[in-house]
Amino acid sequence: MGKEQSAMVLSISPHIKSKESVRRIMLSVIITLLPAVGYSIYQFGLHALFMYCISVATCLVSEWVVVRLRKRPFSLRDGSAIVTGILLAMVLPPKFPLYGVVLGAVVAIVIGKQIFGGVGYNIFNPALIGRAFLAATYPVFISSYVQPRMALDAVSQATPLAAMKFEGVMTSYRALFLGGTGGSLGETSALFLLVGAVYLLVKKYIKWRIPLSIFLTVAVLGEIFHLINPAKYPDPLFHLFAGGLMIGALYMATDMVTSPITKRGSVIFGCGIGVLVVFIRLLGGLPEGVMYAILFMNAFVPLINRATKPKIFGTGGRDER
């Protein structure tokens, strides 16, 4: 023994690591999104498939180019660009033009993520940055919805939220839950999103406090409004299953990078989103407010983290991380 062992690694403890990795987390997110993705392709046809492909491909290419330009060692292997690509397509209307998808994906990666320093450093959810950009540049396209193949409730061309807000027409819960209403690619079926998210919750890849506090806040606030004026304001169940709330609460607000790291912080973050969603939906000018609510609360995450810093062991506080 001696010389031949000179290649022994000298890193600092711990010398064993769990099997968790960024790649594994991202792959899990991708896999759990697939049922909802598949269902939306079935509902909206080939164009939806193209949207997903173009969005993911553009995200990967943009990421690759920027990483090269910044001379960073990080490769595409972590899979985070694929997640952004899929999520961006999921929050766009079914017939969104493909060149628009390309533009949105470039903005999502370059402005939403890489400008801040790449994976881990971004403040805002990249996919939502992409969508916000498209909402500002293509206001007509972003609000043009078509009915899915299996329309369970063919009341109008509008989304359930727009129908509620501008026409006072309600959509059935069955249609909302199972999917079969107008809306963005990924927001038409609450069921498939929930199924996927359960796995992530079990694996603790998403912090359950965030979606739960969003749902509870929306339900309670929605109920209050509903009690005040049932004719004008929908009941809480409608709020929960309509529009982007499911995908937003389960997949956007729970993005690790852009959500708080403490338990109390997660609750504050979720409640904030819930309040904003209900206010924008019922009192604001837009039919849907999930995107802006999340982006707005993203900006407060550093502050929330600082304010909810746990009391260190032995300083008299309770365990409240």
Partner: protein
């Protein structure tokens, strides 16, 4: 029955099956012993022998003038070849006595004091602990007599004998509890005598069923309490153990004595028993040779100063390419560059891990998954600390409790970005200390 435990922590693969069934074997006399004059936290020892001297087993080799120091003794009879700076498991070369054993095993122990704790003079026992060079054998190597000398205004009511052995792979404490039960309990009662405590509690993780069975019976007969804790890393950390067993939280920046508790490792208790009853100084210890690159994992009683390589040879050698040689366990042990380093008082294990890709992998930015926040036993924000360390924001790190970090490594273990959080924290602690020093100067 609900188990005692703390909040946070992790469940790594324990890999105790490798060595836990193998009884303690006595390692043979090596050709040469290298006995460092620093094997403890505190002032180094000055040699009291010279090259060419013939020494007996147990004879004093070096001692320090300071109170916080622990003398070292010859672990075999033989001739002092030289006194020189040699490799040390903690990294920095240390002045060491190189001894060539003559095989006679002639002893020069101290006078036995008897084995009845009830009749012993506490002060004499404490002095014996000091003279025997006993340090914390769990790995921290803090001189035991210092730990057993709390100031008058900090009365100790409970002594906890730590048999948790929460580090994966290691089974030396487990075997000690099984095979040296009586000596261990006797040692614990001697320590209890020094501290004048009301309660002595043996704490063991519930993954050591046979040890619990064996110890419980004897403990009750001796009037010693027994506490079974949950199997969770780092259950054996002093602060976590005290919280689990007594519900007391050691204040930030404080010591167990601040809440009236002293915690010692089971091996330390055996060493105290031998020093008091038999007059034997701390010249050997039980350690585990294990890991997936160890041919036949097992537990060995090894003379202090034996080169690691010789212990590994005697234990059957290695298999495959050794990617890492670790002194201690996989969570807090120290990686070595050479098999020449000697076994010292704090060497609880020799862990041989086969070369694997992850050992050389780089790391990614923090993705704020908060896994580390949930497992940190001291409720820090390890992710934040690691980012602040990269930004060299040392003052800010102090505000975020960097000095409260016990370096257990739970955060780095769960980190999906594989960030070297402990490494960053260790470096930051040194920086923070430097800044403090400059401010006070």
């Amino acid at each position: 029955m609900s188990l005692f435990t703390f909040k946070g922590g992790i469940h790594p693969p324990y890999e105790k099956e490798l060595a836990k069934g193998s009884p303690i074997q006595t390692a043979g006399l090596p050709k040469s012993l290298t006995i460092p004059l620093v094997q403890h936290i505190g002032a180094p020892c000055a040699p009291v022998v010279e090259a060419g001297d013939v020494v007996k087993k147990g004879q004093l080799l070096g001692k320090g003038e300071s109170f916080v120091s622990a003398p070292v003794h010859a672990s075999a009879s033989g001739k002092v070849k030289r006194i020189e700076k040699s490799l040390h498991p903690l990294g920095q070369p240390v002045l060491s006595v190189v001894l060539e054993p003559d095989g006679n095993e002639e002893t020069a122990y101290m006078t036995p004091m008897g084995g009845d704790p009830g009749t012993l003079d506490p002060e004499a026992v404490k002095a014996r602990v000091k003279d025997a060079g006993i340090v914390g054998l769990g790995g921290a190597t803090f001189p035991a007599h210092v730990k057993f000398s709390p100031p008058k205004d900090k009365p100790i009511d409970t002594f906890i004998l730590n048999g948790c052995e929460c580090e994966p792979y290691l089974t030396a404490d487990h075997r000690t509890m099984l095979e040296r039960t009586d000596d261990m309990l006797l040692g614990a009662k001697m320590i209890g005598r020094i501290l004048n405590v009301r309660r002595i509690i043996v704490a063991v993780e519930n993954n050591k069923k046979d040890a619990i069975e064996t110890c419980k019976k004897s403990a009750h007969a001796e009037g010693v309490e027994f506490s079974v804790t949950a199997t969770k890393y780092p259950q054996g950390g002093e602060k976590m153990l005290i919280k689990a067993v007594l519900g007391r939280e050691v204040p930030s920046g404080g010591l167990p004595m601040d809440v009236g508790v002293v915690v010692s490792n089971v091996g330390t208790a055996v060493a105290v028993c031998e020093a008091v009853r038999d007059g034997k100084p701390l010249i050997e210890r039980v350690l585990t040779v294990t890991g997936n690159a160890a041919k036949s994992p097992g537990n060995w009683l090894v003379k202090i100063g034996t080169p690691i390589g010789e212990v590994v040879e005697q234990a059957g050698g290695t298999t495959g390419t050794v990617g890492k040689l670790i002194i201690g366990g996989p969570m807090m042990g120290i990686a070595q560059s050479s098999f020449e380093v000697p076994v010292i008082k704090g060497t609880s294990g020799i862990l041989l891990l086969r070369e694997e890709a992850y050992m050389k992998e780089g790391y990614l930015p923090c993705i704020k998954c908060s896994f580390c926040v949930q497992v940190c036993p001291t409720r820090l924000l390890p992710s934040r600390l690691s980012v602040l360390a990269e930004a060299e924001a040392w003052e800010k790190m102090e505000e975020y409790g960097v000095n409260d970090c016990i370096e257990c490594g739970s955060c780095a273990y769960v980190c999906p970005s594989k960030r070297p959080i402990v490494q960053l924290v260790k470096a930051a602690k040194i920086k923070v200390r430097e800044i403090k020093k400059r401010e006070n100067a």
